[in-house]
């Protein structure tokens, strides 16, 4: 599911979707994207922060176009105890490998990988950062 902000619009005809992983995308060239993410985080149930949330920071290839204070981004990862991935969407190879990483994380969060829980995986990523 893609959304530009949370909460998701409620559709009373259908059951709410089952969500295994929430990826918040922040574009460092776009200050508004950081604000949207900060506002949306307030609508996430706290249980998701046990390994089912991650931040994807894009636009990192062009430091000269940076509109955001990077410390604010780091702080977000610390405050919400969630891993942070960095990627440059314009490079195909990086895009593909980032997508593969996200799929792997999703498999873990959905419980498809025996022996690895979302919480244990995220604390592994969190500690190695």
């Amino acid at each position: 599911h893609l959304a530009t902000s949370l909460p998701l619009p409620s559709d009373s005809d259908r059951l709410p979707p089952k969500i295994d992983l929430i990826v918040f995308m922040i574009d460092i060239k776009n200050k508004y994207s950081l604000k949207k993410v900060e506002d949306s985080l307030a609508y996430v149930d706290p249980s998701y922060f046990l390994g089912k949330v991650c931040f994807l920071v894009t636009g990192v290839g062009r430091v000269n176009c940076c509109s955001i204070e990077m410390n604010a981004v780091w702080r977000l990862g610390e405050v919400y105890c969630s891993p942070m991935l960095f990627c440059e969407l314009e490079l195909e190879a990086v895009r593909v490998s980032t997508a593969q990483r996200l799929v792997r994380m999703l498999q873990i969060c959905a419980g498809h990988i025996p022996g690895v829980s979302a919480l244990s995986f995220s604390s592994l990523m969190w500690n190695s950062a």
């Binding site: 060239k29 776009n30 200050k31 508004y32 176009c65 940076c66 509109s67 204070e69």
Partner: protein, 287 residues
């Protein structure tokens, strides 16, 4: 002495960061000028003269001088100015020369780094250029070869531009000051679109005064609040989120800066403050 730095005002300068110069000496400035003249003459011979606008017979004189007033602290090395002046061969020997190119190496309050420099290095991290690119490349190449240094265009990120907007708005200016103008470039449109946001300088200063808590000190939070106020005001009227666009140019009565790395100093009173900020940007680009 404001007269000696007046040459910096009201010209468009292109900015570069420069790595430390190896074995540069203030006592050899006349020799450097002579060697630069030879380089320029050699380039003319090489065939660059075929280029339209590079007059074959133009008599170019090179001057290299030191500007002791252009520095921040005592640890800074005094600025070095390179000037190219020309005179057409048709005019008499005594006629006035015309200034055609200016290049200024300087360091304003670059304290932290000059402390740890090894003996034979001179640290002048900021380079300002006004004049034709063809001379910039000849003179830049000569410096790179002679002093084993590197020049890089200094880009100014939107993040740094917003600091400049806040800092310069906070400076006291007289009644005739020009408007504070911010220019934003909107990404990912089929036709390029720029949005220009002009604010009356007194209104801008009044806003900044309500945000800044300690005079003489500016925090990241204060810059963010200031910019967010401007963005919300714009959104209320035009329903456009300027924070989703790229800030590309900031113009105030003090100075105007563009993200391509060009600057114009408009007031001598705050000149050194701006130079200090640019020196800091140059240093962080080098690192």
């Amino acid at each position: 002495d404001p007269q000696r730095t007046a040459f910096l005002l009201r010209k468009q300068w292109t900015l570069y960061s420069v790595t430390p110069l190896y074995r540069f000496s203030d006592t050899h400035l006349k020799d450097y000028a002579r060697l630069l003249s030879i380089s320029i003459a050699a380039e003319k011979q090489k065939g660059l003269a075929v280029e339209v606008g590079f007059e074959l017979d133009l008599d170019i004189k090179v001057d290299v001088s030191s500007i002791p007033d252009l520095k921040g602290s005592d640890q800074d090395h005094a600025a070095i100015l390179v000037q190219l002046s020309s005179r057409s061969p048709a005019s008499s020997k005594n006629s006035e020369r015309k200034l055609i190119w200016l290049g200024c190496f300087c360091c304003v309050s670059g304290d932290d780094l000059s402390k740890n420099l090894p003996k034979d290095f001179t640290y002048l991290p900021l380079f300002l250029v006004n004049g034709a690119e063809k001379y910039t490349s000849i003179i830049g190449s000569w410096f790179q070869t002679t002093f084993d240094c590197c020049f890089h265009r200094l880009a100014i990120s939107p993040f740094n531009l917003s600091w400049m907007a806040a800092m310069w708005t906070g400076c006291k200016v007289d009644k005739t000051a020009s408007a504070t103008e911010l220019v934003f470039s909107v990404p990912r449109l089929p036709q390029p679109l720029d949005i220009s946001y002009a604010i009356h300088p007194e209104d801008a200063k009044a806003l900044w005064d309500t945000v800044q808590k300690t005079p003489g000190e500016i925090t990241q939070e204060e810059v963010d609040v200031f910019m967010d106020c401007l963005y919300s005001h714009f959104h209320r009227h035009f329903k456009i989120h300027l924070s989703a666009t790229k800030l590309v140019k900031v113009s105030t009565a003090i100075a105007s800066a563009h993200c391509d790395g060009t600057i114009k100093f408009l007031q001598s009173k705050h000149l050194m403050g701006v130079m200090m900020l640019l020196t800091e940007l140059a240093i962080s680009q080098i690192e």
